[in-house]
């Protein structure tokens, strides 16, 4: 069955209002993406019933959580959801076990869809059970928080920048577990983030929010290259790749995607692993002819120009949309555009430095 998550909300505070109407897939990870103050967290709080929109409507699959028109508003504890906050927010008067049991005990046995052992194992929590939360690292605490939410067998998991309080190593550690949730448990997740890098590998659907409005929503790979003007510096394209081989002597990995192959700095994952690569437009250049073998640039991809953005007054660069089997964005200077006399339909070569890809990758 094609389950959907339908959300209609209107919330107004002093100097801020959120108004949106979303119809999202009821599976996979939906990421709410936008700058702070765009209404991401408020949307999540409304979904949880922690804030109430007087005109709200929220429906997950067949169950209506809120329909103000019909006088329906399920209080938070009656909504089958899990909420993971920015900070772990564990109950410090309980042990890790007590925290994990909190929602588990309150879930009727016939509604439990995730087993105790399954979650303890998935999140590697067994050695932490008898400890007090205060004595765990932040990464461990956040894993416990995720486990605690999952053990209440939610039908929807809300995650509000769950990596924000973590350093890079811990981020990666927790991201690995979130990826596992995605692969092993069939629970739809609504994830809030302001970092595209962070959510690149786990997101299926992207919702771009700005000033309390939805700018765009859709599958992340298709959407990303349409959003240049909102992503500014981070404008680029997302390529779905598979790891073909590692070349440890050069610290490189070779990836295959629908338009060819790509060298990137070596990735810590197995051959055959699926990997999304975010290629920033500012890291892609264009050549008219295939550069000679003597170039230092590793990634040379045949491409066709689809579109050239209208240069804005005062801007030195323009954006070019290429077709390399999938869309690929390139930022080049107006001067180069002029010199090379580029036109839509023209066949060119896209050049991407392998090292330039480093910042575009978060392997999980």
């Amino acid at each position: 069955m094609n389950t959907r998550l339908k959300i209609r909300l209107g919330v107004a505070y002093d100097g801020f209002d959120l108004k949106l109407d979303l119809d999202l897939p009821g599976r996979g990870v939906t990421t709410l993406f936008g700058p702070s103050g765009s209404g991401k967290s408020t949307l999540l709080r409304c979904l949880a019933g922690l804030e109430r929109s007087r005109t709200g409507f929220i429906k997950l699959a067949d169950s209506v959580w809120q329909d103000e028109g019909a006088g329906i508003f399920l209080p938070t504890h009656q909504r089958p959801l899990g909420y993971v906050f920015q900070e772990p927010r564990l109950f410090n008067h309980l042990t890790v076990r007590g925290n994990l049991e909190f929602g588990f005990k309150r879930t009727p046995a016939n509604e439990r869809r995730l087993g105790w052992n399954q979650i303890i194992e998935l999140l590697a929590l067994s050695h932490l059970l008898d400890r007090k939360p205060q004595h765990l690292s932040l990464g461990e605490q956040q894993r416990v928080a995720i486990g605690r939410a999952l053990l209440a067998s939610p039908k929807l998991l809300l995650m509000d920048e769950p990596l924000a309080s973590l350093d890079i190593a811990r981020k990666r550690e927790v991201l690995v577990f979130i990826r596992k949730l995605h692969d092993e448990l069939d629970i739809p997740v609504v994830y809030v983030s302001h970092s595209l890098q962070e959510v690149l590998q786990i997101t299926d659907t992207l919702v771009l929010l700005r000033d309390g409005r939805v700018i765009a929503s859709g599958p992340i790979t298709a959407l990303c290259s349409e959003l240049s003007s909102y992503l500014a510096d981070m404008a680029g394209s997302i390529l779905e790749t598979t790891v073909l081989a590692h070349e440890p002597e050069f610290a490189l990995s070779r990836l295959a995607f629908s338009g060819g192959q790509l060298y990137v700095p070596i990735q810590d994952c197995d051959v055959g692993h699926a990997l999304r690569v975010h290629v920033l437009a500012r890291n892609v250049s264009i050549a008219l002819e295939k550069p000679p073998i003597s170039t230092s640039i590793l990634n040379i991809i045949e491409a066709k120009i689809i579109a050239i953005s209208e240069p804005e007054a005062g801007q030195h660069s323009v954006q070019i949309k290429l077709d390399v089997g999938v869309p690929l964005l390139a930022n080049i200077s107006r001067k180069s555009l002029h010199t090379l006399a580029l036109e839509p339909g023209q066949k060119v070569y896209a050049l991407v430095k392998a090292v330039a890809l480093a910042q575009g990758l978060v392997a999980v």
Binding site: T76, Y83, F91, H93, F102
Partner: protein
Amino acid sequence: MSGIDFTPVWLTLQLASVTTVILLLLSTPLAWWLAHSRSRWAAIVEAVVALPLVLPPTVLGFYLLITLGANGFIGGPWSELTGASLVFTFTGLVIASVLYSLPFVVQPLQNAFVAIGRKPLEVACCLRASTADAFVSVILPLAKRGYITAAVLGFTHTMGEFGVVLMVGGSIPGQTQVLSIAIYEHVEVLDYKAAHVLSAGLLGFTFIVLMMVYIFNRRFPVHEH
């Protein structure tokens, strides 16, 4: 130690216990509301609660005497209902003590609730706990220190009251003659020995109880949130 009547001691302990229990029940919702309300009434209510801290007990006692008296706002209906008076009775003393000791219980609880914040309650509600369940299973244990401080301050402060009790309760042995008043009357008739026994007892008891609370608070620091 024959000759010294210990009835006032038991009466005082009884009064302090009943008052503390009522105060804890009453102050919990009040302190929670004060801690989290954004209403402008909150400041006014806060000021009213704090009044007994600074008012002369005689002022409070005077108005209580009028309110609880046979023609008073509360005393009138009460005597019509029960046929009994509130002033110069144990019940009247309990009402007076509750008002008099209110800030000593409300304020520690309010501080505890402010320190805890709303977040633990929200987390619990997202884990299928109703608000009442969340309050009992999360907020109460987190506010344990606040409750102990509140209970001890409420209890000891009620034990030590004098002015309000004198105005509202008078000094009826076995009914309203509490410790502080018994001491005063012993001194008035120059029975220093009896005054010493009762005073030293009260001093020692209060000191030990307070010390235990402070030792407890040092040993079990507040939960970090």
